[in-house]
Subunit: 192 residues, 2 copies
């Protein structure tokens, strides 16, 4: 399980409360790991009883108290070991892969192509966000600190992922467009 380790990484960057961690997972951490606040609270509780993190209640101005967590020595040691341990292969699970594999069993090929165009638009939206973040936060990659270089390279991975998906889906569209242009219409609209 990696959620606990993802939390450890985030807490080592800066101590935080459960809701602050939730916001981080929604933001920068989020493009390669998702977690809801319920998962995070549940996991933080287990990590505290395991001695991986410590907590301190901190009163706040204008807001309810927060419980701020920080990594314990044991947690840091556990993380350092996990970081260099190869994990088992994670099979990607892609709804879209299933849909495109089975596209022949949809009634309407054009609807599949619309779906693909819709996916492309979503990937391009995320790509634009990542590119903007990359240009804004890391204008000079060669000058980064070690920890920032890591973050920059992970962001680069996200950019490559989105780019690769867009290229693939465009290949899909091109292949089907040329096929449909070459052969006569096979799913005619019903004549009025």
């Amino acid at each position: 399980m990696a959620l606990e380790h993802a939390i450890l990484v985030s807490l080592r960057e800066r101590a935080a409360s459960g809701s602050e961690l939730t916001r981080r997972f929604d933001r920068s951490f989020g493009f390669f790991w998702a977690a809801t606040h319920q998962q995070i609270y549940r996991t933080l509780g287990r990590m505290e009883s395991d001695g991986w993190v410590t907590s301190a209640v901190v009163p706040q101005q204008g807001k309810p108290d927060t419980k701020v967590y920080d990594v314990s020595e044991l947690g840091a040691k556990t993380l350092a070991e996990w970081l260099v341990t190869p994990g088992a292969h994670q099979t990607p699970r892609s709804d879209l892969g299933v849909k495109l594999r089975g596209a022949a069993y949809a009634d309407d090929r054009e609807a599949i192509l619309d779906l693909v165009r819709h996916e492309i638009a979503e990937h391009e939206g995320r790509l634009a966000i990542y590119l903007a973040a990359c240009a804004h936060d890391y204008p000079d990659p060669a000058a980064l600190t070690d920890a920032d270089l890591d973050r920059y390279l992970v962001l680069r991975g996200g950019i490559r992922l989105e780019t690769g998906q867009i290229e693939w889906l465009n290949e899909y569209l091109t292949a089907w467009d040329s096929r449909r242009a070459a052969s006569p219409e096979e799913t005619p609209k019903e004549p009025s």
Copy 2:
């Protein structure tokens, strides 16, 4: 949930028993969806009681009887609708992403680079398998039937995914190699 729909797609390609489906998920279906036989049997049972599939016990030569499932009319209709319905965004979950993001908190940068090299080797292994399958099964993409074109394009997606990961991890290695070459050793071995 897409496991049920993945099973529907596989059964529409050809009716099959639970164990045969399991083998298909291990093989061709497997590179974008994983499922163990327990998941498949459980799901088949639910799908049958929902009326998406029908089953027939078939005696076999030299082997125990098998229960062969096929898609019902309702199942085919359900699948056709699902295929053209856009799904919610699936956040990728990447252990490796977490590890590289937190690499600064490992004791040993060289161990991280070894981990990355190990990952590259695994991706290259899978890529070689996909490329071989692509060349062997689809020597002439322009001549494929519609259903085969879909399968070919999904395989192309798998190839692009592996290629993209390899490129990203090589970018990671390059960035860190040049950094380590430029600056003096910062994690010296303890003197004996």
